[in-house]
């Protein structure tokens, strides 16, 4: 992220040399409104967050005895590393994201392979499969909480009882698993669409040649299809992680941040607007999250850059 910022500033500096209305500047003009808006709404607040993280800022309207905001140095950051709850939230975030991304990629790939062949009702089944991705995340979480998992009227427990098994308190006994289930349900269609695009972009002549050579179905898959799909798997994992790492809706609706299900976004929310109103220390948590994201983003942007280079070559 910072690398991109830096190069951007450099690019801007070069253009400033000489006549401001020279051709490069006229070319940049259409870009400016979008750039200004994005910087004003995302980058400036982030800089203010960094400043907050070194203060003891609290919401004045929410505290009985408002104390003046003062500079506290690295106190907020020291507190982070001794906070077991934050470490727990980090670990929950990692587990939630990795599980949801990997499972939805696996299911998505399998479903894409099922759909990538002619059969009666192909279009209808694809339409049904993508529907969960279109649902409001809040509604998706509610559906699973109330209709599927609920120990009072959930379908799953009705089925378990019918089969003579004892019922399971899914959400209270397996909060993380319940949330991951909803995320996988919603994100599998997305992965499926990406993998389907990948499968259909395979050059047909090479597959035919393999057939003529008498290659087995499994051999074709392992030696031709899988390497071809690598790029698409990377893209799916990257885009899925961007969104799933910020999952808040499912956590809020399903468990309200109960034990074992508080991920980092929910933790920071709880610390601040959700009730703590300690913006200073919550900002410090947020900055740590940003640093972690930069590490992930650096890796991810490399994947994206590879995709752009491929586009150039084409």
């Amino acid at each position: 992220m910072e690398a991109a910022d830096a190069t951007l500033i450099r690019a801007g500096a070069k253009g400033r040399v000489g006549d401001p209305f020279s051709s490069p500047w006229r070319r940049r003009l259409p870009l400016l409104p979008a750039l200004v808006v994005v910087i004003a709404i995302t980058q400036l607040p982030f800089l203010v967050s960094i400043y907050y993280s070194f203060t003891n800022l609290k919401d004045k309207t929410q505290s009985l005895i408002p104390e003046p905001t003062k500079f506290v140095g690295f106190d907020n950051y020291k507190q982070i590393f001794s906070d077991p709850f934050f470490r727990q939230a980090m670990w929950t975030s990692v587990k939630m994201t990795v599980l949801a991304v990997v499972l939805s990629l696996v299911f998505g790939t399998l479903f894409a392979m099922l759909l990538d062949r002619k059969f009666f009702g192909q279009g209808l089944i694809r339409t049904l499969l993508i529907t969960p991705f279109l649902l409001m995340p809040v509604v998706a979480a509610l559906i699973w909480k109330q209709q599927m998992f609920s120990s009072l009227f959930g379908i799953l427990n009705k089925v378990l009882t019918f089969l003579g098994l004892s019922s399971v308190a899914f959400i209270s006994d397996h909060p993380l698993g319940s949330i991951v289930t909803v995320l996988v349900w919603q994100w599998t269609p997305f992965m499926m669409l990406i993998m389907l695009a990948g499968l259909q972009s395979q050059p047909a002549d090479i597959l035919e040649a393999a057939e003529v050579d008498g290659a087995s179905a499994f051999g074709v898959f392992r030696q031709l299809t899988l390497p071809h799909l690598r790029r698409y798997l990377e893209l799916g994992a990257l885009l899925g992680s961007i969104y799933i790492i910020q999952a808040f809706d499912a956590v809020d609706v399903m468990t309200g941040g109960g034990p074992g299900s508080t991920n980092v976004p929910y933790f920071v929310y709880d610390e601040s607007i959700g009730g703590g109103f300690r913006y200073g220390s919550a900002s410090a948590y947020a900055i740590v999250v940003v640093i972690a994201s930069i590490i992930i983003a650096t890796f991810s942007l490399r994947v994206l850059s590879g995709l752009l280079k491929d586009e150039d070559r084409a």
Binding site: L31, A34, V37, T131, P132, L235, L239, D249, S293
Partner: protein, 284 residues
Amino acid sequence: MSERGTQLAVGERRGMRYGLGLLAWIVGALWIFPFAWTAFTSFKNEQDAQAQTLHHGLSFGRYSEVSHSTTGTLSLATAFTNSLVIVLVSTLIVLALAVPAAYALAIRQVPKWRDVLFFFISTKFLPVVASIFPIYVYAEKWNLIGTRQVLIILYIAMNLPLAIWMTRSFFMEVPRELIEAAEIDGTSLINQLRQVILPLAAPGIAATALLCLIFAWNEYFYAIQLNFANASTMPQWVLGNVSTRGNFLAKLSAASTIACLPVILAGWAAQKRMIRGLSMGAIK
């Protein structure tokens, strides 16, 4: 996403082909089941919904109940209007900003266009929590908490990077020769956009707009943080139908169906182009 199927499994037998087709049907039925069941429940009465049975027949009763809310609570009409205004205005502004930017990135490329593109997408990696407090503090200072304006502003920032990526990739497909011909004819920039580029990229721009609409319609985090007062949107209305007392499962199902239906229909209609947008044009 054409209907063609590649001959993936070489030498596969006929029986296996039918078997895999059947498997696809089973998987499709399983995946839609939770939502289909919810839509079904929305036509039951509360007793049947709770017991997951069907003794009292089906009716639209729950739909009329949730659309006539009691005073003091958020009504469907209010939430729907708020959502509609916020979603439409933010998407229009996003397009107005994204089209010129995409022009500068795809057609008359600025120097270092790849870095600029990276910068836009890198803002999506910035966690929401990293910027929410200053936004909250300043929104409070400027009396914007609980207004439509604050959500419109945030949804513009949320969707703009994606819209620029998508629009750029659709612009890249406009044949160079057409643009060059227009330039030789001395067509002005605005007319070039209006007469040559936009008509060709229109389906792509429509898909972009649709995706922005979907993301904004479904958004909940900002809405609950900055908008708990007068300008609540559809996700908040759905959650308002969860009650701690009495039976609510059928009513909640009806509310869920109402809230999701516009987006589901739009998504079904545009499914073939949506993937292009979601993969940010990296996949053709």
